[in-house]
């Protein structure tokens, strides 16, 4: 079993219910949030406006003219209790490969530009994260960061931004970093950032406070309607999906960028069923087997 405490339900304002599974971040809490919100979404309850699965909680927005908050909490509590049994859970997800150019000139330039609000101004973000996590060899850091698959535990902040959390890593193996002391006013689109134990890829240019360690060659948000895989959704990220980074060099980065611009690029995606129980039991071995063949 997950050994999670009973979920706490809060009535928030006149339109929201906030369900807190755990206060601290646990992959198990996220699996539960995914399971409960997937079940609730499937049931299509009139009066429910938004269902948001988050890192260790979930949020429901409802219309109290159509459904009473109290009835809704009773209803969700039952789903929360009965539909999150890990032995019966199977999450239908996608494993997606993200080609990344680590320690690239773009994020290095941003490190330089915003050094006045950084903990260690003389280091690039990449060097800073390496140093904090005890790496002296660049290749070893890239190997560690890219060999870990990441679970999308939440999507939000700005549209298409996905928090992703390492799977199958022991707490000491998890690469972590504090955020900027004061947020950058600018962040390049498609840059890969680390804040706390979470990674993000910035979908659009904008503010940000995560440490930038590389550039994704592929977008996570596409308004141009050119890319087949993003045509319906606009966004790449889906809560519950697993992302796997693949290190690339400059020439491959540029080649993929051309494919993206022409619309020819196809994401490497593998549809799989993730069993939280198997993951809890076998960890790294299970998750690597599951998404194997991606890269």
């Amino acid at each position: 079993m997950f050994n999670l405490p009973e979920t706490t339900f809060n009535y928030v304002g006149d339109e929201y219910i906030y369900a807190e599974i755990t206060r601290d971040m646990k992959v198990e809490s996220n699996f539960k949030a995914l399971a409960v919100t997937a079940e609730l979404r499937k049931r299509n309850i009139p009066g429910i406006i938004d269902i948001v699965s988050s890192n260790a909680s979930y949020l429901i927005r409802y219309n109290p003219e159509l459904i009473s908050g109290k009835d809704l909490v009773d209803y969700i509590r039952e789903i929360d209790f009965n539909k999150s049994d890990p032995t019966r859970l199977s999450l239908s997800i996608r494993a997606v490969e993200i080609p990344v150019w680590y320690d690239d000139p773009i994020t290095r330039e941003y490190s330089q530009r915003f050094k006045d609000r950084h903990q260690e101004p003389e280091l690039s973000n990449f060097e800073y994260v390496m140093k904090l996590n005890g790496f002296t060899d660049k290749a070893a850091f890239i190997e560690s960061h890219s060999s870990t698959p990441y679970l999308i535990t939440m999507v939000g902040f700005l549209p298409g931004t996905a928090w992703h959390f390492p799977l199958g890593a022991t707490p000491s193996e998890i690469i972590q970093s504090p955020k900027y002391k004061s947020p950058r006013t600018d962040t390049p689109e498609r840059s890969v950032g680390i804040g706390g134990a979470f990674n993000v890829i910035y979908p659009v240019q904008g503010p940000g406070s995560y440490q930038l360690i590389g550039m994704s060659a592929v977008p996570v948000f596409d308004l141009s309607n050119r890319l087949t895989d993003l045509k319906d959704s606009l966004f790449l990220a889906r809560p519950g999906d697993v992302w796997k980074y693949r290190p690339i060099d400059e020439s491959e980065y540029l080649r993929i960028r051309d494919e993206v611009k022409s619309g020819a690029y196809r994401y490497r995606i593998k549809e799989v069923n993730l069993s939280p129980l198997e993951y809890i039991k076998k960890g790294k071995e299970y998750i690597h087997g599951l998404i194997g063949g991606l890269g």
């Binding site: 304002g13 971040m25 939000g156 549209p159």
Partner: protein, 326 residues
Amino acid sequence: MIEIKKPGLWTTVQDMGRLGKYHLGVPPSGAADKYSFMIGNMLVGNPVEFAALEMTLIGGVMQFKKNTVAALTGAPMKAYLNQQPIPFWEAFTVKEGDVLTIQECRKGVKSYLCVSGGIQVRDVFGSKSTYEASKIGGFQGRKLEKGDCLEINEPLPGAAKQAGKSLPLEYTPSFDSFQELRVTLGLTGYLVSDEGLKAFLNSEWKVSVESNRVAYRYTGGKVSFTEQRPPFGAGESFSNVVDFAYPIGSIMLPNEEELIVLHNDATTGGGFVTIGTVISQDLDLIAQSRPQSTCRFTAVTVDQAMEARKERREKIKKIETILGRQ
């Protein structure tokens, strides 16, 4: 069609918002002051959700290329149709070629121009509202600029009969420079100390200049944290919780001396302590609050929040009967 001759300070197309996409990080957007917005639509005989223009502090100059019926609501700006002064909260007839000049408002911030049949722009995720951070919805996903030509729909049947109808004075908002905002406490407020909670409720808070459709920022009190160690995954600071989805109206505390209330273009999630949530109808008041104006937060129970909601619904129904196309 409406041609923008002179853009106002910040004018966007808005409707009642984009629902059901919050889990992808897409905020609802939509009219910042829904009360004024809905009444504007009622005045011209539209369903309340039809798209209209939301103006900020100054409306600008625009020319109509179609006969229609229009209405101005929200923060009262000085307005002229050609040279003729035009009152707020009253439907008026517009002829092809007429020029509408909308100057600054002395009170409040947001005003609405509604036209019969609504503004015609493409739906994105089921809404015409502009969301500028991702450049989606509205007119090319952005605020209006000089030379923009906005399509407007044909006036609805019976629209002409709406001209001259006006909202009784007792229903117009007062746009005071001091507001009482009702909040339900809780959410992720467990890192706030008891004294901090008292200070939150007892202080007068002042609106900062950086406030906008994403969020309103306030200073004035000091809300102390407990100095408990934040939970694993939250980050280093006493103001951090594990990132979660923020409700619209939630009150974040990035540090002990600043409050941020998320509005309709909210960043949909993050990891700051949140002390409570402003009830939905008081978000309209926030939208009309100017920099340097002040407020107090009053704690209400969920039942009281629902009661307030019911009162407002009944009020809107009454207005609908007064202004409706019978």
